[in-house]
């Protein structure tokens, strides 16, 4: 059974705007799937549909056999900006998700401490977000997300706001965490290189109305390391291939929007 199954999803904003059209996607358990596409193509909207935070639309969505609902504990959501609570310390921020889901305090703290160590934030447990760099904040958000035992992770451009160096480091960190405990991931990004490097599959969307124009398997070996991929020929070939698909998608929908990289 697919972990996530989306069938003929069509999303409208009001009577005139067609945001996403006839979007169908099955994602297997434990797969890392990226969705790329020009900005405004409805990638984030699709993700928000899964969280149940938006009213249901045309088509059907099943998450581990169930319809989307707000607060579904099978999902852990990570947003573009770090989204840390500024009045909480690194440790209590990392505990936040677990706290909201009713994990006992002591368990949550132990789990959070362990993950903070894994993401390289040991020693910063009592710092407030204002004292952390962007990269460190996003590490903390990663710890918060992975601390939840949710089998499915929804990541909405989690590294979109980081500089290139920090981004590579955090992509590697995400791979490490994910390779240690394979969960199903949907990763939204407008960065093609990132999508290819991390994923088992890359879904390419067209500009609005967002449609799937390509579904490209990424046969690169696992475990991967972002740094080593940079020297891998196959990686660059796949990258070029997906890039062509993306360009075609953009041309088909006649939009001038350019994705990054």
């Amino acid at each position: 059974m697919a972990a996530i199954s989306i069938k003929n999803l069509t999303i409208r904003f009001g009577p005139r705007v067609l945001a996403v059209e006839d979007f169908s996607l099955d994602i297997n358990e434990g797969d890392f799937v990226s969705i790329v596409g020009p900005s405004g193509c409805g990638k984030t909207t699709v993700l928000n549909q899964l969280t149940g935070l938006l009213p249901p639309q045309e088509g059907s969505i099943s998450i581990l056999g169930e319809a989307p609902r707000e607060g579904n504990a099978d999902l852990a959501y990570m947003l573009a900006r770090d989204c840390l609570l500024p009045w909480r310390t690194t440790l209590t921020n990392a505990c936040y998700g677990m706290q909201m889901r009713g994990v006992p305090r002591a368990d949550a703290e132990a789990q959070a401490r362990q993950l903070l160590a894994q993401v390289g934030l040991a020693g910063f447990e009592d710092s407030y977000p204002k004292a952390l760099s962007h990269g460190m904040r996003q590490r903390c958000a990663l710890a918060r997300t992975f601390a939840l035992r949710s089998p499915i992770l929804l990541m909405d451009e989690p590294f979109g706001a980081l500089d290139a160096q920090t981004k590579l480091a955090l992509e590697d960190l995400l791979l490490q965490l994910w390779q240690a405990q394979r969960r199903t991931v949907i990763f939204i990004t407008h960065d093609l290189a990132e999508a290819v490097a991390l994923s088992d599959r890359v879904i390419v969307m067209s500009a609005r109305p967002g449609r799937i124009v390509a579904d490209v398997p990424i046969p690169l070996q696992r475990p991967r390391s972002i740094r080593e991929l940079q020297k891998n020929h196959q990686y660059h070939e796949i990258y070029t291939h997906v890039w062509e698909q993306l360009e075609r998608g953009i041309q088909l929908s006649g939009d001038a929007g350019q994705p990054a990289r």
Partner: protein, 254 residues
């Protein structure tokens, strides 16, 4: 402003400045260049304060009345304002309906309402509290609404995706993120409560520093006037300082 710490050198500088300032004031009075009937005289002001607070301590009672009025106005005005602010955010249509009336009332010069308040609430603390409260209320109300409206949408989305109840959303996200804005309103409201109370006391009262000040003015006791002005200024400064302390302890994450 209240984060300044003076080194002993700066302290010495201030002491020197004050000594020169007060010394030349005193000197000018003794030589007859300044008329103490209009300007008072530092030594006589000091004597007035010593008498009022130490040897025949009747000013403490007035100080107590003023403080009591100030703090009551502050607490009452702030609590009412926060409650109404929360109601406004929960029921935006109610806010739309109430807004013109609140704007109208807030535009009224509060000091002009004192005669009415005296009539309604009497010469005692009641009328003072009415003025102070009406000032504190609007400041805190505006800040409460702004603070709650300013909450980050991302934090709300994240928290809702974690399955938080509306109450949790409020206590975990909305309220803490509004606290800094509300707190800066509270700091202002405390000073305005005092201004309101003293203003009302100046017009008519049974007790209070404002009332004493008015009495000194009408009896041409310039030393008393100057001394009380100094006390009032120090009081206002102390209140702001205390409030900033509380704020910093509460908001160490900022």
């Amino acid at each position: 402003m209240n984060h300044i710490k003076f080194s002993w050198k700066e302290c010495a500088g201030h002491a020197l400045f004050l000594a020169v300032f007060l010394g030349s004031w005193e000197f000018a009075c003794s030589r007859g260049w300044l008329d103490p009937t209009f300007f008072g005289r530092p030594s006589a002001i000091a004597h007035f304060l010593y008498e009022g607070f130490v040897s025949k301590p009747k000013l403490w009672l007035d100080l107590g009345y003023t403080m009591l009025g100030t703090l009551t106005s502050f607490v009452l005005g702030s609590v009412l304002a926060v409650l109404l602010g929360l109601t406004f955010v929960a029921f935006p249509r109610f806010e739309r309906a109430a807004d013109p009336y609140l704007t109208l009332f807030n535009a009224m010069p509060r000091i002009a309402l004192v005669p009415l308040f005296l009539l309604w609430f009497g010469l005692g603390l009641g009328s003072k509290i009415a003025v102070g409260t009406s000032l504190a209320f609007f400041i805190v109300l505006a800040n409460t609404v702004a603070g709650i409206r300013g909450v980050s949408g991302d934090l709300l989305t994240l928290t809702r995706s974690l399955g938080a109840s509306p109450l949790q959303l409020f206590t975990q996200v909305t309220l803490p993120s509004a606290v800094p804005v509300i707190a800066s309103g509270l700091r202002l409201a405390l000073v305005y409560s005092m201004l309101g109370v003293i203003g009302a006391e100046l017009i008519a009262a049974e007790h209070g520093l404002g009332q004493t000040l008015a009495y000194m003015q009408s009896t041409f006791n310039m030393n008393g006037v100057m001394g009380l002005l100094l006390v009032l200024a120090l009081l206002g400064m102390l209140l702001t300082l205390a409030m900033s302390r509380v704020e910093r302890a509460l908001l160490k994450w900022q």
